[in-house]
């Protein structure tokens, strides 16, 4: 009986994970139609300084750059994933200024982005909050300046 109960619990958890991943796939935004020029302006105006402020005190060589992107849409996809999606060991950075401004920029210059984010936020509410590990968050955020620079370089081509 105990084994039967445990197996049923496992099936339920696997089902939830599967549904959540399915929701994530469905709600993944395509950044192809965004106004990349305006997004670049917003980044240069405020987001870049906010990222530097967040990363102040850390050395540029402290973390390795492990995430790369190929084109504008791919870069924005990776930026969105690292900025808004929580990772194990680092809770969502929703209250940070660079996160708020990144979200506002994408919502302003990418048609249909804000609706997608709202639905994704509601779907992710069920996930448990994890304890924030500063070093883990720094490691995650340290990937963002490189992705943004790569995004700007793609605009110069």
């Amino acid at each position: 009986m105990k084994n039967l109960g445990q197996s049923k619990k496992g099936e339920v958890s696997f089902r939830k994970i599967f549904i959540l991943q399915l929701v994530g796939l469905v709600l993944t935004y395509d950044f192809t139609n965004c106004d990349f020029t305006e997004i670049k302006k917003e980044y240069c105006r405020t987001i870049r300084e906010d990222l530097l402020t967040y990363m102040s005190g850390t050395k540029s060589t402290e973390f390795n750059t492990t995430i790369f992107c190929n084109n504008r849409s791919h870069c924005l996809t990776e930026i969105q994933r690292l900025t808004f999606n929580p990772t194990p060991g680092c809770a969502p950075l929703a209250k940070e200024l660079f996160v708020l401004r990144t979200n506002a920029t994408l919502a302003l210059w990418c048609p249909g982005y804000s609706e997608t984010q709202i639905n994704a936020t509601q779907a992710m509410k069920k996930r448990k909050k994890r304890k924030v590990t500063t070093n883990k968050c720094l490691e995650q955020v340290s990937q963002l300046p490189g992705l943004w620079r790569r995004f700007i370089r793609t605009l110069r081509k």
């Binding site: 105006r45 402020t53 708020l100 401004r101």
Partner: protein, 459 residues
């Protein structure tokens, strides 16, 4: 009754329509005619107090009755939806960190719950920088210019860092004629020659956002006053140095000209334009006159009065003797002369230095010089293929070169007056043999010229 009802209905409908056109809408808001009275303008100042931003709004019409009027901003805010302004006399101010600076915010003039006038504004496009300060002007005497420097608080800010500055200066007499200079840095150089001397100038500076932010000019900085010096004093201080340098230069040029004139013929001209050797003159020049009576000339008439002595003794080398017997005609008298090449004036010659030619005596008789025998004729020594040899003078009488004949003056022997025409040099050598020795050069005139020229070159 029906007609009366209809009449009242039409009357009230007309009344409603007329009241709508008079400017009072159904929803209670004022129409466009009255909106102009509540027009306003705003500007933002970022990081004005640490990380706090400020937003200032004011009515464009100063006569507006601001009693019970409020300002409200909604949208593009962090964590809040709307914020209210604080009223300071005639302006409305808000200071907060919660400006998102992305997207538009809606700013409304409100009278209670009613919105009188609203505008959608992006706060990043209405930025008004803070006024520059610490404006100063320093006169640099060495550079003859004025260095203008000022400071701005935006150098230490995060967002609005890139500004364009406008420096304006004017003559104290021209109140409205301001001259403007735009620059991105905080230093400016004004040349003294661009300004009038002994004049007081007023200068001030302001800033405007230049990069990704947009907005308005800042307030002018406090004016700075400076006075330009006189030109005479300034130029007089530098004159002694320039005067000294110019005098030294002129003096040097004059000295060089004088030296050039003095040394032109002797030193400079021979180097710049060397004279071509004249063989006759060269030979005359080279041949020294050991005695007063020695005649050096190619003119045979010069030797009419000369006594030509017969040479009896001949000093000849063994190896040459046979050659001379084969080649020398019997009437010829030969003498040997041995002299080193290139050293015709030296009294001591190497004893083994003998020059021979393969030519026959008839055409190019060799010339040999004896060691230690000083010839009176400093004939040029050949460095070419045709060496010189002194020839012995035979008993039959010497052959005398019609162009060149040397005479020792007082001698006991005499020479026959008639001589064949040959290109030879006769030398008398009384030192070694006690009797003069006549030497001959080759009979070829061309060889003589060649040898003379090459001897001159060697000399």
């Amino acid at each position: 009754m029906t007609i009366l009802g209809t009449t009242f209905a039409v009357f009230f409908s007309l009344l409603q329509v007329v009241s709508g056109e008079s400017g009072y809408a159904q929803n209670g808001d004022l129409e466009d005619a009255e909106l102009d009275d509540y027009s306003f303008s705003c500007y933002s100042q970022l990081e004005v107090n640490g990380s706090q931003h400020s937003l200032t709004c004011a009515f464009e019409d100063p006569d507006v009755n601001t009693t019970n009027l409020e300002f409200e901003i909604c949208g593009a805010l962090v964590e809040v939806r709307c914020l209210n302004f604080r009223k300071l006399q005639e302006i409305y101010l808000i200071k907060t960190k919660k400006f998102l600076l992305i997207g538009n915010s809606k700013i409304c003039v409100k009278a209670g719950e009613k919105s009188l006038n609203c505008k959608n504004i992006n706060l990043a496009t209405i930025v008004k920088p803070e006024a520059p300060f610490d404006l100063s002007v320093i006169y640099r005497e060495g550079a003859n210019d004025f260095l203008v420097t000022f400071n701005t608080s935006h150098l230490q800010k995060k967002y609005v860092k890139v500004l364009m500055h406008d420096v304006a200066y004017r003559h104290e007499k021209d109140e409205n004629n301001w001259m403007h200079v735009n620059l991105s840095g905080t230093k400016l150089t004004l040349l003294q020659r661009m300004l009038q001397p002994k004049t007081t100038y007023e200068i001030k500076v302001r800033s405007i956002p230049h990069d990704y932010f947009k907005g308005f000019w800042s307030e002018w900085s406090p004016s700075y006053y400076f006075r330009t010096p006189e030109i005479n004093n300034h130029s007089g201080e530098t004159n002694p140095i320039l005067l000294t340098i110019s005098l030294l230069s002129v003096f040097s040029v004059v000295v060089l000209v004088i030296l050039a004139c003095v040394l032109w013929k002797k030193r400079i001209k021979p180097i710049i334009w060397p004279s071509l050797p004249d063989h006759k003159k060269t030979l005359e020049h080279l041949c020294k006159k050991p005695t007063k009576n020695l005649i050096v000339s190619f003119n045979p008439e010069s030797f009419l009065d000369c006594q030509i002595h017969r040479v009896d003794d001949i000093q000849a080398r063994d190896e040459v003797e046979g050659f001379l017997q084969d080649t020398v005609p019997p009437q010829l008298e030969e003498s040997e002369m041995q002299r080193p090449a290139g050293d015709v004036q030296s009294p001591s010659w190497p004893s083994e230095n003998v020059a021979t030619t393969p030519e026959t005596f008839g055409r190019d008789p060799p010339l040999r010089c004896l060691a230690g025998n000083v010839s009176a004729c400093d004939a040029p020594i050949l460095s070419s293929s045709r060496p010189l040899e002194c020839r012995e003078s035979g008993t039959n009488g010497p052959h005398v070169n019609q162009d060149l004949l040397l005479s020792l003056g007082t001698t006991n022997s005499t020479l026959p007056p008639s001589f064949p025409l040959q290109s030879r040099i006769l030398t008398l050598n009384p030192v070694a043999q006690g009797q003069p020795i006549l030497t001959f050069l080759g009979s070829n005139k061309e060889e003589a010229y060649v040898t003379m020229s090459s001897f001159y070159q060697n000399r």
